[in-house]
Symmetry: C2
Subunit: 345 residues, 2 copies
């Protein structure tokens, strides 16, 4: 038995001390060698050696111990209004792709669009001492106690300039209206989303502006509001629209979920899409190309939005600059079969 193999038998994962013993140096040096910020304090060869051995031994820093020392949990609270909306899973993936190389883990919480539930989950995550927040929910942002852990909004923005990553709502709507106008539509209705949410109000005001820009008549009978981003709310708003008596040949929906609600109500009333009414959605969520008919919609880069939001947050946590903290990613109209020239009836 060699003198070197004096390590006591260890259970559990490889620890800093294990690596140190193997390399024959002090744990503190291993820590320095492995830590990005302190690596320069260590002999280059030693650092290399340490990295190698660490990888060999499958060393992974224990985030709990690290957190205890640094008073960081290495976790991020991700607060979503509705995980069953296909818009969000790709964003979550983007978030994880950015977080994971940095050693952070996402704690995902659903609010079901319910303010009470939002408070509850935020409280839970706060007790877990998350180091930062990514929020896609529409709620008073002070709930997050931003002075404790920084917040980045995703697919949302507020008036007080909280850092945010959003799609280009305005441009997307302009493209959508332009598309309908090119097809020959002039009576374009709007099933707008919740006006308390920035995406809802931005898209609605962009609709107004675009209509004006094209010299089209604005008519109150052509606008109804869905009270949530759901199929149900979209269907209800479309019902109101039809009952309101305004004539229209196209509907601009606040997002793809409400567009599905439009499909539903139009179907109920015997109106075909796109033969009787063209429908445009927003988001190009997963499966939008599979619906009946495939939905013309505005694509925003889901995965990248999540990624950028997480990067932004990490920068804020690291104490980086808050500049360029409002990221607007480009939107792109995707034409499918829910839009066509109006019937001229």
């Amino acid at each position: 038995m060699s003198v070197e193999s004096e390590d006591p038998p260890r259970a559990g994962p490889t620890t800093l001390r294990d690596v140190a013993r193997r390399v024959g140096i002090h744990p503190a040096t291993v820590s320095r060698a492995l830590n990005e910020n302190t690596r320069h304090l260590v002999n280059a060869e030693t650092a290399l050696r340490v990295s190698e051995v660490a990888r060999e031994m499958g060393y992974r820093p224990n985030p709990i111990a690290r957190g205890l020392k640094t008073s960081r949990s290495m976790t991020i609270g991700v607060v979503l209004p509705d995980l069953t909306n296909p818009l969000f899973p790709p964003m979550v993936r983007g978030i994880e792709d950015a977080l994971s190389p940095a050693g952070f883990t996402a704690l995902i919480a659903n609010t079901d669009n319910d303010i009470a539930r939002a408070r509850s989950v935020v409280q839970t995550l706060r007790l877990r001492q998350v180091d930062g927040w990514i929020s896609a929910v529409a709620t008073r942002d002070d709930m997050f106690e931003e002075h404790v852990a920084p917040l980045v909004l995703l697919n949302r923005q507020d008036e007080v300039g909280t850092p945010a990553v959003v799609g280009d709502d305005r441009d997307g709507i302009v493209q959508a209206v332009a598309h309908l106008v090119e097809l020959g539509h002039t009576r374009i209705a709007c099933v707008a989303g919740p006006q308390a949410i920035s995406t809802g109000s931005n898209r609605y005001s962009a609709y107004i502006e675009a209509m004006l820009a094209y010299g089209l008549e604005l008519d109150h009978a052509l606008v109804r509001f869905a009270d949530s981003w759901s199929e149900r709310a979209g269907a209800a708003a479309t019902r109101e629209l039809l009952d309101g008596g305004g004539e229209f040949t196209a509907v601009l929906a606040g997002n793809d979920m409400t567009a599905l609600g439009c499909y539903e109500t139009l179907g109920e009333r015997g109106l075909g899409v796109p033969d009787d009414v063209s429908v445009v959605g927003f988001n190009d969520m997963h499966f939008a190309d599979r619906f009946d008919p495939p939905l013309t919609t505005v694509r925003i880069p889901h995965h990248e939005m999540g990624l950028r939001a997480a990067e932004l947050l990490l920068a804020r946590i690291a104490g980086g600059d808050d500049e360029s903290s409002h990221v607007v990613l480009p939107a792109e109209l995707v034409v499918r079969r829910s839009t066509r020239a109006p019937n001229g009836r």
Copy 2:
């Protein structure tokens, strides 16, 4: 300045020591007083006093420090193959609904159907000292080191009797085949799922049995395997099926995602659903009723499956019995417009 206010100025949240100083006892006693299991070791009055002061001071135990000591985290690792599959979000909700009242938080991890990524996320969660696992991925279960933290399988089962919550695959497939037979189909093809996954192989063997039970001819040309539960894999398998030359009037798909792949390939080849080929899926995932055509499929109770899995896991963590640890929830055929009587061509 009173004698008692000798506390050094402290930043950050109230700690055990802060409370101890205020009460004038040792931190260890405070710990015992506040901890349910050790409270009986402490003078009743002292315990009361401590609780009061702790509440006054807004003391919250630091879960990180506690975790480091107890190697418990009050978290559950939820490992999913693909969050973008609409099957899973409702299950996640069910899990959260069961976990949250018990004070546990779900740590959700995606593997993207990738074994390397699975190892990585499991490792990450293990370092976070999750107290239990819910896994919906098809992987060697020893990856989870079940002796450390118990494991419950969701929508999966294994041969070694790991506790699991699944839908009734066999009965669901029997219902689906019965439906097709009633419509008059005799040449029923199968785009089976990955055979390494229990749901894939169970459904496939149920197909075989059902075909035999109805006296229908089994034909190798009528079976192809998708190598993952994805649209892409379903499309590829359907392509192989068509190129294999076997004649059929209906396809039983392994799940709804692969059924979408069938739609795609059949469309490419100019075959209509259901006019030329009937298609049946499995899961009745969100939006299955929205596809073109609305998909006939087998419904399993997503939310309840998640709920039951989490309940089962909590029971195991609490050291409860392992009895009735294999839960099979009923499946129900939902007939929509992707199936009809064969053309007789």
